[in-house]
């Protein structure tokens, strides 16, 4: 993999030695620790980012997220993104990101060239796969909410897991159905997986020719649970916008799944004009 030379970044100066007590306590400004290697644009607003860390990430559990930060003149601008995959050597991190039109960081990410230096935080989050649970698993992701589910399924594929799995990937338009080839390669590798890509707007011209599953994620889920009653005794992993998670949680629990077995990660979009993160 080739990356360009590191661009020069404006250093954040140290706090004055005699800072009065009312000033912020001295804090080390986190320096860039990774390089953007690739950006593959799937649609106008969805892209897959390949980032190479200077030193390997430690302690990542499939399902977790990481903060991605860019040095700006007035500090470090950060947002959290779920990890799609971490390379076996721990250096290469893959992120699946939606561009939020009024977002603070994502529009800037679309302007970066390979070689740009970025800051990745440590892996965080409690939405993680319990790979040793032998029960059926229902994975539901909408849009880029597929990201942490891919990390989980990749782990299961690598382990040669034997439990039955269902993956519902809900999108508005068929062009947003990312990672189908990767999922299908896992199927070919023997993973027990019922893969259901679904578009929620079948009548839109952008979905013309689509002959697959249609409907919102919760409606598709209800049909799936109706076809395979054994899934209700399993566990669910969901990631996406809060309204989808609420709707699908209701379908799962009404279908007989224990509330404690319904696990989710919600994607929040901070309000426009969110404060830029400053590292003093």
């Amino acid at each position: 993999m080739s990356v360009f030379e590191q661009p020069t970044l404006s250093p954040v100066g140290p706090p004055p030695a005699s800072a009065p007590a009312s000033q912020p306590l001295p804090r080390s400004a986190p320096a860039p620790n990774a390089t953007l290697a690739t950006r593959v644009e799937l649609t106008e607003s969805m892209a897959i980012f390949g980032i190479v860390l200077d030193s390997p990430m430690i302690g990542f559990k499939p399902g977790q997220y990481v903060s991605l930060g860019l040095a700006r003149d007035d500090g470090l601008l950060q947002r959290a993104y779920s990890i799609v995959a971490l390379g076996a050597d721990g250096f290469r991190v893959e992120l699946f990101i939606r561009r939020v039109p009024d977002g603070a960081l994502s529009p800037v990410l679309w302007t970066l060239e390979p070689g740009a230096r970025v800051r990745l935080g440590p892996p965080k989050g409690l939405f993680v796969l319990d790979a040793d649970d032998p029960r059926p698993r229902v994975f539901i992701g909408t849009g880029t909410g597929l990201a942490p589910l891919l990390a989980m399924l990749g782990e299961l594929a690598a382990r040669g897991d034997g439990a039955p799995n269902v993956l519902i990937h809900g999108v508005s338009y068929r062009t947003e159905l990312a990672y189908a080839e990767r999922v299908e390669s896992w199927l070919g590798g023997g993973l027990d997986l019922w893969y259901i890509p679904a578009v929620s707007r079948p009548d839109d011209s952008r979905n013309s020719g689509w002959t697959g599953t249609t409907g919102r994620a919760d409606a598709v889920l209800a049909r799936v649970l109706g076809e395979d009653r054994s899934l209700a005794a399993g566990v669910a992993y969901m990631c996406g916008n809060p309204s989808m998670i609420e709707a699908c949680s209701a379908v799962l629990t009404e279908g007989g799944m224990a509330a404690s077995d319904v696990r989710s990660e919600r994607f929040h979009t901070p309000a426009a004009g969110a404060p830029v993160l400053r590292q003093m």
Binding site: L25, V66, G69, R266, P270, P275, L277, M280
Partner: protein, 104 residues
């Protein structure tokens, strides 16, 4: 706007929030503090902390219950002067106790 850790954290300090914060903006000094504090200058409003807090102690700034609005100031102050923040927290807790509100 950021998130704020209010009174239900006092003397409970579950720490789940610390484990999930992607930008490590939640802090406390072991042995010296009775709650955790969110740095409003670093918080990216992801809401992860609020979603995992077992004590329901964390709110977006605009949604902090009125009785606990002082905690927004206390959280911000802690990152500038811990002593002052602890002092004000003590006063707020005393006032709450005097008003008959259950604390901790």
């Amino acid at each position: 706007m950021s998130f704020v850790i209010a009174e239900p954290c006092v003397d409970r300090m579950d720490q789940s929030c610390v484990a999930v914060c992607p930008v490590d903006c939640i802090s406390s000094e072991p042995g010296a503090d009775r709650k955790f504090f969110i740095d409003p200058d670093q918080c990216i409003q992801c809401g992860s902390c609020a979603s995992v807090c077992p004590n329901g102690a964390i709110y977006p700034l605009n949604d902090v219950p009125v009785d606990w609005i002082d905690y927004a100031w206390i959280d911000a102050a802690w990152f500038r002067d811990r002593g002052v923040a602890r002092e004000v927290l003590g006063e707020v807790l005393q006032d709450a106790a005097a008003a008959g509100v259950t604390v901790g």
